[in-house]
């Protein structure tokens, strides 16, 4: 299996740490005045999402993690697995469990494209696009003319996500939402 020297690790490399695949976020060279050099490496555990720092001796080697990101379209759920299909023309399909989908479940929309992180060929994580357009299925009636007041109310979207929206929004409207913050951006411009 491929491996990396801790002194060569760069942000974006994927390595195995304590049996879990991790993404390298940062690598700081630590060199005491005299003596052994170290690398203080900031890692994100790709299974749990935990971010932490760990120190290694410089030159120590870590196994590369067999992790690959692919673009896939969401198809449907059978209650246990969420099924995705590759958009690269291979029609390759994968079923991700609730653990892999995680919080992204509230942004899952059919025919939308997601980044599926495959670990040893199986889905490990599902990342939604930064912005997604979803229909409002439930909210208090819109307040006419109130476009500038800045007030807000909760609205439930077709995927089940609840976001704060301006008072003038009505059921049936399609909204653009930032999935990273869960915040309303605007009304969708075209459907």
């Amino acid at each position: 299996m491929a491996s990396y020297s801790t002194s060569d690790l760069r942000s974006g490399n994927k390595v195995m740490v304590d049996g879990d695949p991790c993404a390298v976020l940062d690598n700081e060279h630590v060199k005491p005045g005299k003596g052994q050099a170290f690398n203080r490496i900031k890692l994100r555990n790709l299974k749990s999402g935990r971010v932490w720092e760990r120190t290694f001796k410089s030159g120590e080697s870590l196994d590369a993690a067999d992790v690959m990101d692919t673009d896939m379209e969401y198809l449907y759920t059978d209650g246990e697995f969420y099924h995705f299909m590759a958009t690269d023309g291979s029609f390759e399909q994968h079923g991700a469990d609730a653990n892999a989908v995680g919080d992204t479940v509230k942004w899952l929309k059919e025919q939308e494209s997601y980044v599926i992180t495959l670990y040893n060929g199986a889905p490990l994580a599902v990342t939604p696009p930064n912005f997604i357009e979803l229909e409002v299925t439930e909210t208090d009636p819109g307040v006419k003319g109130d476009t500038a007041n800045g007030g807000s109310k909760p609205a439930t979207l077709s995927t089940g996500a609840v976001v704060r929206v301006p008072l003038f929004i009505n059921i049936g409207e399609v909204l653009r939402v930032d999935t990273r913050t869960g915040e309303y951006v605007s009304r969708a411009t075209g459907k």
Binding site: S7, H29, V30, K34, G35, Q36, R54, T55, S58
Partner: protein, 324 residues
């Protein structure tokens, strides 16, 4: 790494003017104190024995033979050979090279100010370093002084001389996730120092750390402290989380020096590190007689970073990193 598009300097021209001004003031400072400027070679047939510093080499043919030259990592050996040959107090302001990872405060080529004062001990030299910094900054600077043990107890909560190996391993692991299997005390002490002490000393004024464990003496005299701990007359100068300088009340005993050099070369061999010609001419010079003296090496680029509030070493050098 090479690209023809990155032709611009990494430092602003104003930073280079500041750099030149500091060089000028350094030379003026030593001229007034009658310290002689020397420029020993960058390329030498012998190198250091330190197992933790990797050296750049250069190959050429001389008089029909393949010859390896080592780029100097510090002018220390050559300057001590000058002192043993009768030179007065000397200083050198020049480039040194290390085969190290580059980063925010590391380059493979950097500028070092190194000086040796005959008849000084390390306390007198520390006082002179404050004088130099005061001259460069145009205001009186009095660095804090802390013994290695005091700093360690204050910021790590352990006595570096008495703590058990297990306590060092546990504490190190707690803060870095490294160390449970590390059997070398000094490696644990150094990592704890870099992780817990360095970022917390010399925040306002610079801080001298003195009386290092004897096992980290490098080229300093060994001198037990008042409690009888085996310490060395070595000091380091820290300022705002950066190591700026490393100095010694110099070891003059040629037999002790030879022993340390051989131990380091043996350690290199044991770890399968590349063989290099350790410069035993230093030992020959010490046999001839090195006068009692104190010496220090100061990283000038790091000092320039601090004086100008620059976060990256590249911002004080004309061409650094991929621009070099």
């Amino acid at each position: 790494m090479y690209s023809k598009d990155v032709w611009q300097p990494t430092a602003e021209i104003s930073a280079l003017k500041f750099r030149a001004e500091v060089f000028h003031k350094i030379r003026g400072f030593f001229y007034e104190r009658d310290v002689l400027e020397v420029d020993t070679p960058c390329l030498s047939l012998g190198s250091i024995s330190d197992p933790h510093i990797e050296v750049l080499t250069s190959q050429t043919r001389t008089l029909g033979k393949d010859v390896t030259y080592y780029l100097q990592t510090s002018p220390e050996y050559a300057m001590k050979r000058l002192l043993a040959a009768g030179a007065p107090s000397i200083y050198q302001l020049g480039k040194v090279f290390r085969a190290e990872e580059i980063g925010r405060r590391h380059g493979i080529e950097f500028t070092m100010l190194e000086w040796y004062r005959l008849g000084f001990d390390h306390w007198q030299l520390m006082a002179e370093m404050d004088d130099l910094l005061s001259t460069l900054m145009g205001q009186t600077i009095a660095s804090e002084r802390l013994s290695y043990a005091e700093a360690f107890v204050r910021h790590v909560g352990l006595n570096p001389f008495n703590a058990s190996l297990e306590a060092l391993q546990q504490t190190c692991h707690q803060h870095t996730e490294y160390g449970l299997d590390e059997m070398d005390r000094d490696t644990l002490l150094e990592l704890l120092f870099a992780t817990l002490v360095e970022p917390n000393i010399g925040q306002e004024v610079p801080c001298f750390i003195y009386a290092y464990p004897a096992s980290q003496a490098a080229l300093a005299k060994q001198q037990p402290d008042e409690e009888g701990n085996a310490t060395a007359a070595r000091f380091e100068w820290y300022w705002r989380g950066m190591e700026l300088a490393n100095g010694y009340f110099e070891l003059t005993d040629s037999i002790e020096q030879q022993q340390r050099m051989h131990n380091e070369m043996a350690e290199r061999a044991e770890h399968g590190q590349v063989w290099r010609q350790a410069d035993e001419r230093l030992i020959s010079a010490l046999e001839q007689g090195l006068p009692e003296c104190a010496g220090v090496a100061l990283g000038v680029d790091r000092l320039l970073m601090l004086l100008q509030n620059k976060a990256h070493i590249n911002a004080v050098m004309p061409f650094a990193g991929a621009h070099a």
